[in-house]
């Protein structure tokens, strides 16, 4: 077990380092350095100012010095300075990350609950029509664009009925509606994979044995089928973190909320490359850490993973 954890953590660190390197190289591949690009949005930037700013932020140093310097700073939690606000990138992210964590975290939990509830209802439903209707919900959820649902709900609730604010005013609705919009979209892939997996598990002989022994359907589902089907859904849930971040950009824009999504948009619009760089790294790190957690939880659900070849964990789950 210890070896498995060490290996997974090591791989995660490697991925983050590679992500840092890729982002650094991508910035170098831009037609100009970050300072020149940032100032070029102005009418006509003074070359002397550009040179002075470049020196101030260290963009005039040799590439290898910049690479190692930024890497060293990164290890200390220093992501450099935002060219737009002059504030440290880490501080700028810190201002708004709480808002995104609340939105994305709640949406994720709600999405998982929705997915499990949907699959349970679809599996245990008695009528064939009801079952079919429930089975068609995930494809419907994934086909509804996040922005469209957000716009429609706001138009209805905030403009037509006037029961909620167009702005995040701290009321329960102004938090619940964006969470719901994001969660619906997110729950679809989790529900679909879980459903498929539940169907596979249900077809296995041990379920027939349980039934023959006189076990009830819901007892079989909650105690046996769901438990065996969970690893697959867990894997997909880890991957949906990416969708969650993309969804946050849209949700935050539509609902005028502060957050990482809005910040990415701002940073790209004013061409504040150090800020973009910091946000991309944060995203890569989040993605890696979440998937690391998934890998660490997997053996708890399915102990065979430790004994089998580590690389086949996902294959087994899928």
């Amino acid at each position: 077990m210890g070896g498995y954890i060490a290996k997974r953590v090591g791989q995660a660190l490697l991925v983050i380092w590679l992500a840092y390197t890729a982002v650094f190289l991508a910035v170098q591949a831009l037609p100009n350095d970050p300072v020149t690009i940032f100032l070029s949005t102005d009418a006509a930037a003074d070359p002397a100012t550009i040179a002075q700013l470049k020196a101030h932020y260290g963009y005039d140093q040799p590439l290898i010095t910049q690479y190692l310097g930024q890497l060293g700073a990164l290890l200390r939690g220093d992501l450099g300075y935002s060219l737009s606000s002059g504030a440290p990138v880490a501080a700028r992210i810190g201002e708004v990350i709480g808002s995104t964590l609340v939105l994305a975290g709640s949406a994720f939990v709600l999405a998982v609950l929705l997915a499990v509830a949907l699959v349970a209802a679809a599996t245990l439903a008695r009528g064939e029509r009801l079952r079919r209707a429930l089975l068609n919900l995930p494809p419907l959820f994934i086909s509804i664009p996040v922005f469209w649902l957000g716009l429609v709900l706001l138009q209805l609730l905030a403009v037509q009925l006037g029961v909620m604010s167009l702005f995040p005013d701290g009321s329960a609705l102004s938090l619940l509606v964006p969470i719901l919009v994001l969660a619906l979209h997110l729950s679809a892939p989790i529900a679909q994979v879980l459903l498929k997996s539940v169907q596979q598990v249900s077809a296995q002989p041990f379920v027939d044995v349980l039934r023959a022994k006189g076990a009830g359907e819901s007892w079989i589902f909650y105690r046996h089928t769901l438990k065996n089907a969970a690893p697959a859904a867990l894997s997909i849930a880890g991957i949906t973190i990416g969708t969650l971040l993309a969804g946050s950009v849209i949700t935050e824009t539509v609902f005028a909320r502060a957050g990482l999504g809005q910040l990415v948009l701002q940073a790209v619009t004013v061409q504040d490359i150090p800020l973009v760089q910091g946000l991309v790294l944060l995203t890569a790190a989040t993605f890696t850490v979440v998937n690391l957690l998934v890998d660490l939880i997997h053996p708890q659900l399915d102990p065979r993973i430790i004994t089998a070849h580590a690389g086949s964990a996902r294959a087994l789950a899928a």
Binding site: A43, A44, S84, S85, E95, Q155, A158, V270
Partner: protein, 543 residues
């Protein structure tokens, strides 16, 4: 709370008829541009006005206020030396009660108004003005703040007796006074100038002498300002000479364009910027108001030409495109009554504007003639070619304007008729990242603040409009800046427009800059010549 339906209908009807009910207007600082009818009455004291901007921003540093999001808010926080009165078409005193220049336009003297204080209690005197002028003209090295582009002629200033400041320029600049009226030349407390870059960029730390003072903020969601009760130094002739009528001003953000009309109509905001043409009628008929704030301080919206690719190297081709555009159709199809089609690179109300509407009239036959003369002949697919190369050109622009993309879609169709293919990359911010500094991309669609005249916009070799320094133009700019009389100055501004728009056709003009605002029924507000709302004179009725 909604006003009675009958009143709504009446207001909408009057607005539709273009009648103005603005009995409260008529003074100097009022803008003549508010199109919708504002209910009559005396200003109501008190209340909170909620204003929604388009996107949140994190850099409030004065010199960097070249974007509406910043300038529209800082306009109510920072006072300037002078104020441009769009109605009278002239510069009036503000923090400078008087201003004079020598004949050579190399020296300007400002008399500073007595009794003005910053919100932290520091006196706004000649010394504080000198500190600000030095920061504007020379930049602040320690805080990585670059000089203001409109102050490029600035050399030094000194404090004289009698609360006066004398500015000396490196070269003559007849536009220097006008530049002191810009929000980007807003005066901050000397304490603010000593902060580091992050400090001077933070709205919570910027101290001004304006009518509103920072109270609180939620990053990227809201900034709250409270009115300064002792404010008593509005620009000369301002509708409201003293403290704001409002108690509080709340800035929020509505990045989603589809919500803006609804937000104003339902009263969730009192004022919102960036209304789409399609929403104007909806808002008016729903009982809201639509204000078109004319951007007198800016160039018109235009597609400036980069000749780097060689496609547009011949002036005849550029002239062909200039008259190959049906601007009236543009207004009728894509824009609204709030928009005025351009007759020059300057706004109709800008001093020195010359009307070229006759020369710019849609004339596809003349376009074809010019293209023939330039050697571009129609190819098999209808697109003209020369030496085996097709006449294909690309336009880049940011997505800041709500109408720029559909506008270029229409122009694309119009130009196809004269055999020119336009690749429309307007409103594509990703493409703009590289296109902004790429002289191979033939057009950059935009508009710019022009407080320093057209020189700083089209002059420097790295100017973002043409990315090219044209010697003849620069000679003209230098002569214009050195003009010693008003008459000569205006004459040279006219020559600049003729050169840019007709003779060289280096900029294809589209429509006068305008910012369309949506407002709730009881909102009363006027706008500066830079399209910023004047919150100091704003009030709300019926609440």
């Amino acid at each position: 709370m909604r006003p009675p339906r009958l009143a709504l209908k009446a207001t909408a009807l009057l607005a539709a008829l273009g009648l103005s009910l603005t009995a409260c207007g008529g003074s100097g600082a009022a803008s003549p541009n508010t199109e919708a009818a504002q209910p009559a009455g005396d200003p109501v004291q008190g209340g909170t006005l909620t204003y929604a901007e388009v996107t949140p921003i994190d850099n409030w540093q004065t010199q960097a206020a070249r974007f509406y999001e910043k300038a529209n808010v800082l306009n109510s926080v920072l006072d300037r030396l002078t104020y441009f009165d769009a109605e009278q078409g002239k510069l009036v005193g503000w923090i400078a009660s008087d201003f004079t220049s020598n004949e050579a336009k190399t020296q300007y003297t400002f008399t500073i108004r007595d009794g003005v204080t910053f919100s932290n209690g520091t006196v706004l005197d000649a010394k504080a003005v000198k500190a600000n002028l030095d920061a504007l003209g020379l930049g602040i090295k320690d805080a990585q703040i670059q000089p203001n582009v409109d102050f490029s002629a600035y050399k030094s200033s000194k404090v004289l007796d009698g609360n006066k400041v004398q500015v000396t320029l490196k070269r003559p600049d007849a536009n220097f006074l006008r530049a002191t009226s810009s929000v980007t030349a807003g005066l901050v407390a000397p304490e603010t100038l000593k902060l580091d870059n992050a400090g001077q960029s933070a709205i919570s730390k910027i101290v001004g002498s304006g009518p509103f003072v920072f109270a609180s903020e939620k990053p990227d969601e809201e900034v709250v300002f409270s009115a300064r009760d002792d404010y008593a130094w509005a620009p000369q002739g301002a509708q409201n000479p003293g403290a704001p009528y409002l108690d509080e001003l709340v800035i929020k953000y509505l990045p989603e364009v589809a919500h803006r009309a609804g937000a104003a109509q339902s009263g969730q905001v009192d004022l919102v910027r960036g209304l789409q043409p399609v929403d104007e009628q909806v808002l008016k008929s729903g009982g809201g108001q639509v204000f078109a704030a004319q951007g007198v301080d800016l160039t018109t919206n235009n597609a400036s030409v980069r000749i780097g690719s060689g496609q547009l190297a011949d002036a005849k081709v550029r002239q062909a495109l200039q008259v190959g555009m049906d601007r009236q159709a543009l207004k009728d199809t894509v824009l609204s009554d709030s928009y005025v089609i351009s007759a020059s690179i300057l706004n109709h109300k800008t001093p020195g504007f010359v009307d070229f509407s006759a020369e710019l009239a849609y004339d596809p036959a003349r376009s074809k003639e010019l293209l023939d003369e330039a050697g571009w002949v129609p190819g098999p697919d209808g697109i003209r070619q020369k030496d085996g190369k097709k006449l294909e050109v690309t336009v880049a622009s940011s997505n800041n304007s709500v109408v720029i993309k559909p506008a270029f879609e229409l122009i694309e169709q119009q130009w196809r008729e004269i055999g020119v293919k336009l690749v429309n990359r307007a409103a594509d911010n990703t493409f703009l990242t590289s296109a902004l500094v790429d002289d191979q991309v033939e057009f950059f669609g935009t508009r710019q603040f022009a407080y320093g005249g057209l020189g700083p916009v089209f002059g420097p070799a790295n100017n973002t409009q043409t990315l090219n320094a044209d010697e003849e133009l620069n000679d003209l700019f230098t002569r214009e800046q050195a003009a010693t009389t008003e008459q000569e100055h205006l004459k040279l501004i006219g020559e600049e427009q003729r050169a840019l728009v007709l003779d060289k056709a280096l900029t294809l003009v589209l429509w006068d800059e305008v910012q369309v605002y949506g407002a709730h029924s009881g909102t009363h507000v006027d706008f500066t010549s830079g399209t910023a709302p004047i919150f100091q004179g704003a009030w709300k009725s019926g609440k």
